[in-house]
């Protein structure tokens, strides 16, 4: 006798809306949370919560990009070298895959290549005193960065060794904009943590008994 297949549908994971008590279908909450980290608001779009998805996407990505622009593109980078540990990146990383290039650039610069990917300065960490880089990257910096020239490197064949502190060049050139850009990008990343939670578990506010009663009791 053939075994009857279990046709019980998989249980739906839902949250309760604090506004009208309706159910919010969270679909796969873990996937929604991962999508919400990757691109702010994408998790909500996956769940069909289009208004909030577009709202979060616009607000958080907009703030992150505004911070990048205000900071001259220099405020998002990953660095864990003693003397230049970029703690701000821990908060900025909450904004999702837009911050991944910073990790790639840091691994490339500190790794065997001794230069960021393709020699690009985009989200590349600043050089610190005594840091070794490839000749190609040193030449590129000397030609493209107005604060750096060839005399800022010691010749250590086959590499070059930097003499200064690149982050102080950036801060001198950008002034308060470096800090403002850093603040914007950090806040975008930190607020996305709340968005990730909302995608995973629904709205934070839960209706109280008084709220439910006021909705159902007719006003006289």
């Amino acid at each position: 006798m053939a075994l009857a297949r279990d046709k019980t549908p998989a249980p739906r994971i839902v949250a309760v809306s604090p506004d009208d008590g309706s159910a919010i279908d969270l679909r796969n909450p873990a996937l929604a949370a991962a999508l919400a980290w990757a691109v702010p608001g994408l998790g909500h779009l996956y769940q069909g919560r289009v208004f909030k998805g577009r709202l979060f996407m616009g607000a958080i990505l907009g703030t992150f990009l505004a911070g990048m622009w205000l900071g001259g593109g220099k405020v998002v980078y990953a660095s864990w070298k003693p003397g230049d540990t970029r703690w701000a990146f821990v908060c900025q990383a909450g904004a999702g895959i837009v911050t991944l290039p910073a990790v790639v650039q840091a691994l490339q610069l500190h790794g065997v290549a001794k230069q960021p990917l393709l020699g690009s300065m985009f989200m590349a960490p600043p050089l610190v005193a005594g840091q070794y880089v490839s000749r190609g990257y040193a030449d590129r910096l000397a030609s493209a960065d107005p604060d750096i020239d060839a005399e800022d490197f010691f010749d250590r064949p086959p590499l070059r060794q930097f003499r200064g502190e690149q982050v102080s060049h950036w801060q001198r050139r950008l002034g308060r904009w470096f800090d403002i850009g850093t603040l914007y990008t950090m806040l975008a990343g930190m607020l996305n943590i709340l968005v990730i939670y909302d995608a995973w578990a629904g709205p934070l506010g839960t209706p109280t008994d008084a709220d439910r009663k006021s909705r159902t009791t007719p006003k006289t």
């Binding site: 506004d19 919560r49 505004a66 603040l183 975008a188 607020l191 709205p203």
Partner: protein, 79 residues
């Protein structure tokens, strides 16, 4: 005299003085708006409730931060 005094826009003058003394306030306002929006949107689901709660949060955040800044300015004035 009193009718003349009543025409002076005191609040805009105070705000302009504050913004002039603390330039960061100007660039902090969008961040207060962003935080209010995200707090409101993560506590509600209905668009109308989100809009109302955003204003609610903005008043609270702006008020609390304003008090802190005012206290810091006063302390700096007397120091």
């Amino acid at each position: 005299m009193i009718p003349f005094l009543a025409t002076i826009p005191i609040l805009p003058i105070l705000l302009a003085t504050l913004v002039d003394r603390v330039p960061g306030i100007f660039f902090g306002l969008p961040l207060v708006a962003l935080a209010s929006l995200v707090f409101a949107a993560t506590h509600h689901e209905d668009p109308a409730e989100i809009r109302f709660a955003t204003v609610h949060w903005a008043v609270w955040l702006g008020g609390i931060l304003g008090l802190v800044i005012a206290a810091v300015l006063l302390l700096g004035w007397f120091a």
